[in-house]
Structure formats: structure tokens, C-alpha cells
């Protein structure tokens, strides 16, 4: 997807976003100075370990940050409008219609007391002037498109009558039915069976590609992202440590953290009968985000860390090497050499 060379204005431009939580234990800088662009039709993977503030970027864009959380600063420009400064009412018109979101757990995202037909049509009722009959027809068509058999009957069923995978299809249908221009998928397959995960990722990719929707795929699963995304943003402790075109990041990671994430993916070659390479793990755990060490947050877990890493924040800088239309940037004092 990264082939289009034309410099179109981005659909979404996030600049210096800071979303902080004021808790008893201290200030949690869940999102701390994050910037990225998303072109129309682009699929971006937002990757990091759990607790890294990935979801909060999604909720910040949706304007769904609840106290004690707050957007402290930065801009979220969507189609030229700064979402941060919009009123709740204006934001409501954008949610579901322009920007839709898919949640992690399909078992809890659907209201148990309403039929799925009701819940799919609700989005249309909120954002369109369609008649009840038209809404129903659209809902049936949408269910069909997300691969739910016998949609006419299934429309009248309640969420508890569906399996987890089927429910997530329903959630995708709800998100996509108003033809949003941006879809934020927050760990959409994490709660599901491994065998269903790939199916659903394919389905989502197919849906957004067909309708030209941009997508932010929030996940800790770099393997899933590498198959789907055009660009990848790697997040660590609320900050971007590396971003760039997906192939470049997967093939030539420059940040030791990204490298660690890639090395912990089970290789696809594992399917062949050859000797399985040992999976490496990043040593240590994500630090307490309320008490980050000075300098690079990754330094305590990093093999290559030196004195400067423990004192000075690294700056996210474009790497001159391998320059392309999509810049590859990394925030590291000792970026890895491009391996052969």
C-alpha cells in the first residue's frame, strides 16, 4: 500500500499528543508527546507491550478519555479539524460516522439486552436519515459482508446466542456500517481463539480496503501487524520509539526494543520441519510508568545502553539511511546498524 507516491494531505495528523492520568499513585503519562500522520486508505499498526498506552491513543482520538485521564496537550487533526477542541456534541457527530472503533472483547462490547439487529441499526439511526426498512436492509447486507450466515434470522438474535468470533464480526459490522473514514481497532482479536484471529484480521483488512477506510490497528502482536499494515508505529511507555514503513521496520528495525519484539515472534518457517529457532524474549518488564527512569525509558532493559541513555532523552529522528517516501524514524542514541 506504500506505493502511492503522491503527497496527499493526511486524513489524520496527531501532533505532540499528551494524555495523562492523575491517579493516587502518581501521574501516569499514558501518552506523552506522540505524533504521527495517517494517509487516507492507510493501515497503520500501533504496536507495543500491554500497558504501553496504545489504547489511550485510540480513546484520545475518539474523545473518550474519562477522568482521572485528560488530554493535556497536542493536536488531533482529522480532515483538517482539531478534534481536541471540538465540543462533545460535535465529537458525537464524528464518532461512529467518521471514526469508528472496535473493542478488544466482543463478549462485553455488545449490550446483552438488545438484538444485534437493533444494535447494528442504532449506528445508522444515529447518523443517517434512513427509514427503518432501509436500515434493516443495510444491516442484513452488512452482516452478510462480515460473513454471518443467514443474516435475516440472525438479526433477531441476542448477543449471548453468538460465539466470540461471530460477535466480533457483529462488532465489525456495527463499526463499518456507517462507512467511516477511519477505523480504530483496539486489540480486536486478542480475546479470541488463535484459529479465528487470522480470519478476522483478513476480514477487517478486506473491509477497510474495499471501502477505502483508513485503519489504526492497535495490538501487541507484531506478527499480525506485519501482514496487514502499511506503516508501523512502535510505542514504549507512552512514547514513540520507532516508526516507518512496515517492511522497513520488520526487515531493518533500528530500535533495540523493536528488534526485541520482532525476535519474539514465532517464525512462520516454524511450520516446516527444520529445527525451530529459539524465541528470544526482551529481558525485564515494562517499568512502572509513574516512575520512569531519566533518559531513555527502555535503557534498563537494553543491552546496548550506555551512560547517555540513562541521562538524556533520545529524540525521534529520521534515519537518512534507506530514505523513502515514508521516513523511517527512531528514538535511540545507539540505533542498530542496518543488518545485511
Amino acid at each position: 500500500m506504500s506505493n502511492s507516491e503522491q503527497v496527499s494531505s493526511p486524513l489524520l495528523r496527531v501532533q505532540e499528543l499528551r494524555t495523562w492520568f492523575h491517579t493516587f499513585g502518581g501521574l501516569v503519562k499514558a501518552v506523552d508527546g506522540v505524533s504521527f500522520d495517517l494517509a487516507p486508505g492507510e493501515i497503520m499498526g500501533l504496536v507495543g507491550e500491554s500497558g504501553g498506552g496504545k489504547s489511550m491513543i485510540g480513546f484520545s482520538i475518539m474523545g473518550l478519555i474519562d477522568p482521572p485521564g485528560r488530554i493535556e496537550g497536542g493536536r488531533i487533526e482529522f480532515d483538517g479539524r482539531n478534534l481536541v477542541s471540538l465540543s462533545e456534541d460535535e465529537m458525537r457527530g464524528i464518532r461512529g460516522k467518521e471514526i469508528a472503533m472496535i473493542f478488544q472483547d466482543p463478549m462485553t462490547a455488545l449490550n446483552p439486552l438488545y438484538t444485534i439487529g437493533n444494535q447494528i441499526e442504532e449506528t445508522l439511526a444515529l447518523h443517517t436519515a434512513l427509514s427503518a426498512r432501509e436500515r434493516r436492509a443495510k444491516a442484513i447486507e452488512m452482516l452478510h459482508r462480515v460473513g454471518i450466515p443467514q443474516p435475516e434470522q440472525r438479526l433477531n438474535h441476542y448477543p449471548h446466542q453468538f460465539s466470540g468470533g461471530m460477535r466480533q464480526r457483529v462488532v465489525i459490522a456495527i463499526a463499518m456500517i456507517a462507512k467511516p473514514r477511519l477505523l480504530i481497532a483496539d486489540e480486536p482479536t486478542t480475546a479470541l481463539d488463535v484459529t479465528i484471529q487470522a480470519q478476522l484480521l483478513r476480514l477487517m483488512r478486506q473491509q477497510v480496503v474495499e471501502s477505502g477506510t483508513s485503519m489504526i490497528l492497535i495490538t501487541h502482536d507484531l506478527a499480525a501487524v506485519s501482514q496487514m499494515a502499511d506503516t508501523i508505529v512502535v510505542l514504549y511507555c507512552g512514547r514513540i520509539v520507532e516508526k516507518g514503513p512496515a517492511e522497513a521496520i520488520i526487515a531493518r528495525p533500528r530500535h533495540p526494543y523493536t528488534r526485541g519484539l520482532i525476535d519474539s515472534i514465532p517464525h512462520e518457517t516454524a511450520e516446516t520441519d527444520g529445527p525451530k529457532p529459539r524465541l528470544s524474549q526482551i529481558p525485564g518488564n515494562v517499568p512502572d510508568i509513574r516512575r520512569l527512569p531519566p533518559g531513555c525509558a527502555f535503557a534498563p532493559r537494553c543491552r546496548f545502553a550506555t551512560e547517555i541513555c540513562r541521562t538524556t532523552d533520545p529524540v525521534l529522528a529520521e534515519q537518512p539511511a534507506g530514505r523513502s517516501s515514508h521516513p523511517h524514524a527512531v528514538a535511540c542514541h545507539h540505533p542498530l546498524a542496518v543488518s545485511p
Binding site: F103, D105, T108, N111, H160
Partner: protein, 321 residues
């Protein structure tokens, strides 16, 4: 559904049987009713004869058996005081109690649902905190004392409403009721308010707690992500989920109202079954106490059965097995 009904019916009978045993055991404690029946200067001969007539000379097991078979046949004995079938006394006074209980329940629901929903949906707002503080006062005050305050302020000082008695009644669906006439309704107001306050406060807290819990659910956030209006989120997605558990407390609520009606009716000299019970306890009128107990037990059991069926009808997740 049929199997479930049968199962529940059997359960109901077992509960009622257990209650009958408890009632019987307790009544055996209360001392000898013979002395209620005989003159103060009765000879031993006369006392013994009275005991024979009452069946008290036989073993407890035989007495219980007689007690149970009488109950099953609908014979609860006669009131020692009124010389009437105890059941008749209860049924005569039942409409008066149902009237204030029903009105109190309606008032409690009408006030508690909107306030509880508001406080639950906006837990941080000052108005919600005020509502919660008010409800805490409501569960902390003795209801009968509140009734006395109302009597003193509204009836004695301001003389707006009557302080006691039932006022004129009219025939309605075969019952004598007061709410059909203005004067009768005026008599109804203070007892109903007094009775409703405790239930109202508890209901409000339950609804608020449910609402707080529901508003944290993913489906609420998902509805917000759909762009749903505050109204849709609150009333479509929030309220219905919060109110379902309310159905289950309906039985408890009714129980509380019936129980506290004994106090309310005593204060307002309201001629319902609650006042009958208190009077009968004073007079040691054992058959009336027994009927009251069995009757109230039956009522609770039936109401709880209806509640369970309603619950299954409202919540699609529940299947009656």
C-alpha cells in the same frame, strides 16, 4: 416452562410447610392460651375442660397434625377476641394495607428511579452527592418517627391533613378502599409517605449502584464510540440493564413495606392487617397471629414466583429450565 412451574410450586409448598412448623413451635412458646378463654376464678376442673376443648391436652405431634390439617382445609381457627374466623379478620383488613403499601411503592419508584439513575450516571456531581446523602438519611431514620414528625407538623400544627384513621371508604372491585374519594385520599397521604421513605431510600441506592456498575461496562463505551447521544446511552443502554436487577428486589421491597406497615398503621390508627397484628400480639390472640404469618408467607412466596417469571421474560439471557 411447565416443568419449571411444577418445580417452583413444590418449592413453594416446602417453604410454606417450613413456615408452618416454625409458627407452630413459636406459638407453643407463647404460653398457655387457656387462660385467655376461662374466667379468672375458674376451677382446675374448668381449666382442664378448656384445655381439652382447645386440644392442648394432647401431644405436640398430634397438636401439630391437627394444626396442619386445619390450615390445609383453610380453617385457621377463630380469634379469641373477636370470636370470628381469623382469616375473615385478615381479609377484611387486607385492602386497607394493600392500599397504603401500593401507594407507597408507586411513590418510592417514581422518586427513586429518576434520582437513582441521575446519581449513578453522574456520580461526581454535587447534586448526586446530595441525593446520596439524602438517601442515607432516609435509611437512617426510624420510619415511625418520621410519621410522628409528619403528624405533628402537617396534621397538628398546619392542620392540612388528617392525622389518623382511614376516612370514608367506597366499594371498588369488591374491596373497601379510600383512594376513590378526596377525603379518603387525604387520609391516605401521610401514612403512604411515611411508609415509602425507607423503601425509597434503599431503592435509590440500589439503582444508583447498579447504574454506576452498568456505566462502566464496555457496551456503554461502545455505544459512546458509536456516537450515541447522552440520552440514548442513559436510557436505552444504561437504564434497562440497571433496572433488571431491580425486579429481583421487588419481593424484598414488598416484604419490607408489609413489615413496616405494622408500625405505620399503628401510628396512624390505620385499620389494616399490620395494626391487627400488633393488637393481636398485645392481646395474645394466637390464631390471628398464626393466620397473619401464614398469609404473609404465602404472599411472599407467590410474589417471588411471579418475580422470577418476570425476570426471565425481561432478560433474554435467562432461559427457564
Amino acid at each position: 416452562m411447565f416443568g419449571y412451574t411444577i418445580k417452583r410450586l413444590i418449592q413453594m409448598v416446602v417453604v410454606l410447610w417450613a413456615v408452618s412448623v416454625l409458627v407452630f413451635v413459636m406459638m407453643s412458646f407463647t404460653g398457655d392460651p387457656t387462660f385467655m378463654m376461662v374466667p379468672l376464678d375458674a376451677t382446675d376442673e374448668q381449666i382442664a375442660q378448656a384445655r381439652r376443648i382447645l386440644g392442648l391436652d394432647e401431644s405436640h405431634l398430634v397438636q401439630y397434625w391437627r394444626f396442619l390439617s386445619n390450615i390445609v382445609q383453610g380453617d385457621f381457627g377463630r380469634s379469641f377476641v373477636f370470636r370470628q374466623p381469623a382469616m375473615t379478620l385478615i381479609l377484611e383488613r387486607l385492602p386497607a394495607t394493600l392500599e397504603i403499601v401500593f401507594l407507597a411503592m408507586v411513590m418510592a419508584l417514581l422518586v427513586a428511579i429518576p434520582l437513582g439513575v441521575y446519581a449513578g450516571a453522574n456520580p461526581k456531581k454535587p447534586a448526586s452527592r446530595a441525593v446520596m446523602a439524602g438517601s442515607l438519611v432516609g435509611i437512617s431514620l426510624p420510619g415511625f418517627w418520621l410519621g410522628m414528625v409528619l403528624i405533628f407538623v402537617v396534621a397538628v400544627k398546619l392542620q392540612w391533613l388528617p392525622s389518623s384513621g382511614r376516612g370514608p371508604t367506597t366499594e371498588w372491585l369488591g374491596m373497601r378502599v379510600s383512594f376513590t374519594s378526596w377525603e379518603g385520599f387525604r387520609h391516605l397521604i401521610l401514612p403512604a409517605i411515611t411508609l415509602s421513605v425507607g423503601t425509597l431510600a434503599i431503592l435509590m441506592r440500589i439503582i444508583r449502584a447498579e447504574m454506576v456498575e452498568v456505566m462502566k461496562q464496555d457496551y456503554i463505551k461502545f455505544a459512546r464510540a458509536k456516537g450515541a447521544t447522552a440520552k440514548v446511552i442513559l436510557f436505552k443502554h444504561g437504564l434497562k440493564n440497571a433496572l433488571i436487577p431491580l425486579v429481583t428486589v421487588f419481593g424484598l421491597m414488598l416484604g419490607d413495606l408489609i413489615a413496616f406497615a405494622t408500625l405505620t398503621e399503628t401510628i396512624f390508627a390505620w385499620p389494616g392487617i399490620g395494626k391487627l397484628l400488633v393488637d393481636s400480639i398485645y392481646r395474645g390472640d394466637r390464631p390471628v397471629i398464626v393466620v397473619y404469618l401464614m398469609f404473609v408467607a404465602l404472599m411472599f412466596v407467590v410474589v417471588n414466583f411471579i418475580v422470577d417469571v418476570c425476570y426471565a421474560l425481561i432478560d433474554p439471557r435467562i432461559k427457564i429450565k
